[in-house]
Each structure stands twice: as structure tokens, then as C-alpha cells.
């Protein structure tokens, strides 16, 4: 009953091939020894990875992206966790509206958000600044940080906190010693998910990044618009490797299927 037929497995193989083909070809081309785009048919070479290190445009963009991801993920988690607790633990007027507003950044197309931020930062004098990048990223990754914090706090048994309170713990002590440890896997996963989302974001950021403060995906995008060479393949291969690490991390601490599809099931 629960077996896939031969036709199903053939479809599955083609599908996986379709999904992996572009990713594999990027990684393959990154190892070419030639000066132009080609598959590494005569031996692997790391020359294009060395070329990244020698390219200050890409290295400074990498550092900017890492900083941006770290800062904005931390700020958005710090804002989202209390809000998640409020939505999960309290019934209050306006609760639905709060939950909707917290998800709102997902409803607006990133290109439109980019336009809105570009105008907003130009008027407020934050245009092209790193602070502006951080602020905009905090907004767009908030729903991701919220989602995991929310599903972690929804599963929480309020009796545990009541028990702590009845034993005389202050509300801060309850949060610090009881609530936080219980929702920590959700909070940490939310942070990683928010970090990846910020680190990968290109559509919104391309509108507001300036040549001085630009992120790695934006730098890559602008470079590709001019020309495609093995250097961009090598940068992309690096990005793919980094993402794979983060993904395996998420799968270990939280479970990728639960993260993307939700809890429950078998």
C-alpha cells in the first residue's frame, strides 16, 4: 500500500534532478581551472576561490552580510519573542490585529518594500546607511522569528509558570528560569531562520544598498547583470555551502519538516 510504483519513482528521480541540476552546475563550474565558464573536465582547481579572497568588493560585502544578518536577526528575535508570548498566552482585545500586523511584512512583495524603504530612508536621511539596512531587515525577517517563537510558546503548559509563581518567583525570574529555557529551541531556530533570510535577501536590499554598504547577494546580483564568469559561480558555491551548514543545523535542532510544514503528523 505505502509503496511507490515504478512510474512514481521515475517521476521522483526526474524531479530531484530538476531541483538539484542548477545547484550542482554552479558548484561544478566554481572548481574549473579555466579562465572562462566551463565544467571542470580536466581536474579541479581552487583558483576562483582564491580570486574571491583577492576581490575586496566581495570580501567586504560578505562581512557586511554577516554583520547585517547577525544584528537584524538578534533585534527581530528580541522583539518577536515577547510579542509571541503575548499572542500565545493572553486573550486580549486586538490580539488578532497584532498577529496580522506581525505577519504583514510577508504579504507585501519585497520589491515594493524596497521602494518603500528607499523613499523612507531618503526622506529621513538614512539613505545608504548600514543602520537603514539593519532596520529594513529587522522588519522583513520578523515574521520568521515570530513564527517559530509562536509555535514554541503555544505548546507551553501555563501550569508550569503558575507553579513557579506560587513558589514565589518574580515574573522576570519566571521568564528567565522557566519560560525561556522551554521555548529556547524555537527561539534559536527562529534566529537561524531569520539570519538565513536576511543573509539571502536580495530583492528588497537591491533598492536600498549603496555601493559602500552592500550585501553579498546584492553584489553578486549586480555583478551577474554585467557579466557571468567562474568568479560568481565560486561565490555562489560558497553561499550554497554556508546555507547547507545552516540548514543541517536547523534540521538538527528543530527538524526541517516541522519548521516548514508545521508540527503534527506521524
Amino acid at each position: 500500500m505505502n509503496r511507490n510504483g515504478r512510474l512514481a519513482l521515475a517521476f521522483h528521480t526526474v524531479f530531484i534532478g530538476f531541483i538539484l541540476a542548477p545547484i550542482l552546475v554552479v558548484c561544478a563550474v566554481a572548481f574549473t581551472s579555466k579562465g572562462y565558464l566551463s565544467l571542470p573536465t580536466d581536474g579541479l582547481s581552487l583558483r576562483w576561490f582564491r580570486a574571491i579572497a583577492a576581490n575586496p568588493d566581495f570580501t567586504s560585502a560578505l562581512w557586511a552580510s554577516l554583520w547585517l544578518g547577525t544584528l537584524s536577526a538578534t533585534i527581530s528575535v528580541a522583539l518577536a519573542v515577547p510579542a509571541a508570548l503575548a499572542i500565545a498566552r493572553y486573550r486580549f482585545p486586538g490580539r488578532e490585529a497584532v498577529a496580522t500586523l506581525m505577519q504583514a511584512p510577508l504579504m507585501v512583495p519585497p520589491a515594493v518594500l524596497g521602494i518603500a524603504f528607499l523613499r523612507f530612508f531618503t526622506v529621513t536621511g538614512l539613505s545608504g546607511s548600514f543602520a537603514g539596512l539593519v532596520m529594513s531587515h529587522v522588519v522583513i525577517i520578523m515574521p520568521y522569528a515570530l513564527r517559530l517563537a509562536l509555535s514554541a510558546s503555544t505548546g507551553l503548559d501555563p501550569q508550569i509558570e503558575h507553579a513557579a509563581a506560587s513558589l514565589g518567583a518574580s515574573s522576570f525570574a519566571i521568564f528567565r528560569r522557566v519560560t525561556l529555557p522551554l521555548i529556547l529551541p524555537g527561539v534559536v531556530s527562529g534566529w537561524v531562520l531569520a539570519f538565513i533570510t536576511s543573509f539571502d535577501e536580495v530583492t528588497m536590499t537591491v533598492f536600498i544598498a549603496s555601493p559602500r554598504t552592500t550585501t553579498l547577494p546584492v553584489r553578486l546580483f549586480l555583478y551577474i547583470q554585467d557579466n557571468i564568469d567562474p568568479l560568481v559561480a565560486a561565490v555562489s558555491a560558497g553561499l550554497i555551502a554556508l546555507t547547507a551548514v545552516a540548514m543541517i543545523l536547523l534540521d538538527r535542532i528543530y527538524g526541517l519538516d516541522r519548521l516548514l510544514v508545521g508540527r503534527g503528523g506521524r
Partner: protein
């Protein structure tokens, strides 16, 4: 009841707590999301002059310009045509794949799920670059198709709608897998067993039992894919290039090349409105049609 004073205080602070907890996040979103979006709408009402720049007037001239110019019709038409084809392809590929994944056993199922959903975390630029390499310089796709005898001369994928559709389908199909997978997991396997024990064949079970129950999942996946495809930027920009504009790349050009910000803002506002109308319309349709499934 006798200790009215001491019970009222915690109750009152309890009433304020949720607002204090969610207040900072809401303030940030109000200041950095709601205000900029309203400002963008107001910007779209301004007019633009090559010499004077943005003028602080309020009228709907930008919208009138867009609606009276066939150039914009062509671009919005292309945007939504691409989005529709991508949605159809993503549903046709993603639904059976989710079903197959759901029937696999665990070490394999977990690995395959990682392979199918993992690419969602990889930057869109890197994934699209892969297609640019497959279509263009290495020409692997054309070599493969010619070797298989399917075509005689190389096809033009770069800078073509076909290329954009293939790359966007690849980028977005995991969303259909996720949403169908979620509704497959809510399925009661007993119903399938019951159908089989009553003599139903494989295809009858699939089309009469499974498919109707996962239909809401398919449709909600389709809505997500459509909304994302219609507002896609990086993939059409890289594969389609300058010659094949879509709504998002057009807005980008108005903002960063032509510098006609009010017109760019109007293009963006129209994109949001069209998206919201289509997505909300489909949502209501689904809710009415499949009300019993959601209960």
C-alpha cells in the same frame, strides 16, 4: 472577595501585559512598515519633471499614464502570464512529488525532503545563476535535449519567457510541495484503506479519495506561488535581462535608472493591488468551495 485591593492589581497589570510585551514589535512595524508604505502610496500621487524633479502635487496622473499606455499593458500582461504558467507547472510538478514523498519510508523520505525543500534557503541569485549556466555558456540543457533527439538546433532560453518560466518554477515549486505535504499529513489513512477494501483501484483512490481532500493544500500552494511569481524580481532580471521586463524590474528601472520615483511608486502600488485582489479573491473562492474541509 475580601482582599479586593490585592487581587485587583495583578488583574490590572495582567490586562496591560500583552500590550507591553507586543508593544515594541508593533511600534517598530508601524514606524518602519506602515509609514513607508503609506508614504509610497502618497509618492505615487506626486508628479515628476525631468528638470524640477518630484513635485508635491496630488493627482492620479501616473495611474492614468499607466492605464493609457500599451507599453505597460504589455509588461503587466507578461508578468501575470508568466505567473500563471509558473503556478500551473509548480502545481503539476509539486503535487505528485509531495504525494510520492509522503509514501516514502523514513531515512529516504527525510533525505529527499531535505533535497526538495533545502534549496528554499539558498539565495535566489545563486539558484538563478545555476539556470543561467545551464541555459547559456555551458549549454547543458540544449546539449541534453539534442542528445536525446528532442530538438535539432539549440533553443534560446536566456532572455526568453521560457527560460524565466523554467527558472521561476524551480525557485517556487517547493512551496507547493510544502503546502500539499501539510494537507496530506492531515489525511486519515483509514479512509484510503476503506476505499481499497471496498474494491477501489489505485487511480480511483487517488482521484476520488486523496485528491479532493488535498485540494485546499494545492490551491493555497498555488496562491503562494502565484503571488511570489507575479512580484518576482531577481530571476526575471537575470534570465530575462533588460529586454524582458516584468512589473518588478520595471519599477526598479524607474527608481534607479530613470529616476521617475512617482511613476515607479505607482507601478508598485498597482502590483500590490492586483496581487491582493487576485490572492484574496482566490482565497474567498477556496473558503466557500471547501468550507467543509477546513472545519
Amino acid at each position: 472577595m475580601t482582599t479586593g485591593e490585592s487581587t485587583r492589581r495583578p488583574a490590572e497589570s495582567l490586562r496591560l501585559t500583552p500590550y507591553l510585551l507586543s508593544g515594541p514589535a508593533l511600534a517598530v512595524l508601524a514606524a518602519l512598515l506602515v509609514v513607508p508604505l503609506i508614504a509610497t502610496f502618497l509618492l505615487s500621487l506626486h508628479s515628476f519633471d525631468l528638470y524640477k524633479g518630484i513635485e508635491n502635487v496630488y493627482n492620479f496622473r501616473n495611474y492614468a499614464d499607466i492605464f493609457s499606455d500599451p507599453y505597460f499593458y504589455r509588461i503587466y500582461g507578461r508578468t501575470f502570464r508568466i505567473a500563471l504558467i509558473v503556478t500551473a507547472l509548480a502545481v503539476l510538478l509539486g503535487t505528485p512529488e509531495a504525494y510520492i514523498l509522503n509514501r516514502m519510508r523514513d531515512p529516504w523520505r527525510r533525505i529527499c525532503l531535505l533535497l526538495v525543500l533545502g534549496p528554499l534557503f539558498i539565495s535566489i541569485v545563486s539558484r538563478t545563476l545555476g539556470w543561467a549556466l545551464l541555459f547559456g555558456s555551458t549549454g547543458l540543457v540544449n546539449q541534453g535535449l539534442m542528445a536525446a533527439g528532442l530538438i535539432e538546433s539549440p533553443l534560446q532560453f536566456m532572455y526568453s519567457e521560457t527560460g524565466v518560466v523554467i527558472a521561476l518554477t524551480h525557485v517556487l515549486v517547493p512551496f507547493v510541495v510544502i503546502s500539499v505535504w501539510a494537507s496530506l499529513r492531515r489525511l486519515d489513512p483509514q479512509v484510503e484503506h476503506a476505499a481499497v477494501s471496498l474494491g477501489a483501484g489505485q487511480s480511483t483512490v487517488l482521484f476520488r479519495i486523496v485528491l479532493p481532500q488535498v485540494m485546499p493544500g494545492i490551491l493555497s500552494g498555488a496562491i503562494i506561488v502565484f503571488a511570489l511569481a507575479a512580484s518576482a524580481f531577481a530571476t526575471p532580471a537575470i534570465i530575462g535581462g533588460r529586454r524582458l521586463q516584468v512589473a518588478a524590474t520595471l519599477a526598479y528601472d524607474e527608481f534607479l535608472n530613470t529616476l521617475n520615483w512617482p511613476l515607479g511608486a505607482a507601478i508598485a502600488v498597482l502590483l500590490v493591488i492586483a496581487n491582493v485582489v487576485i490572492v484574496a479573491g482566490c482565497n474567498r473562492l477556496i473558503e466557500r468551495r471547501y468550507a467543509q474541509v477546513f472545519q
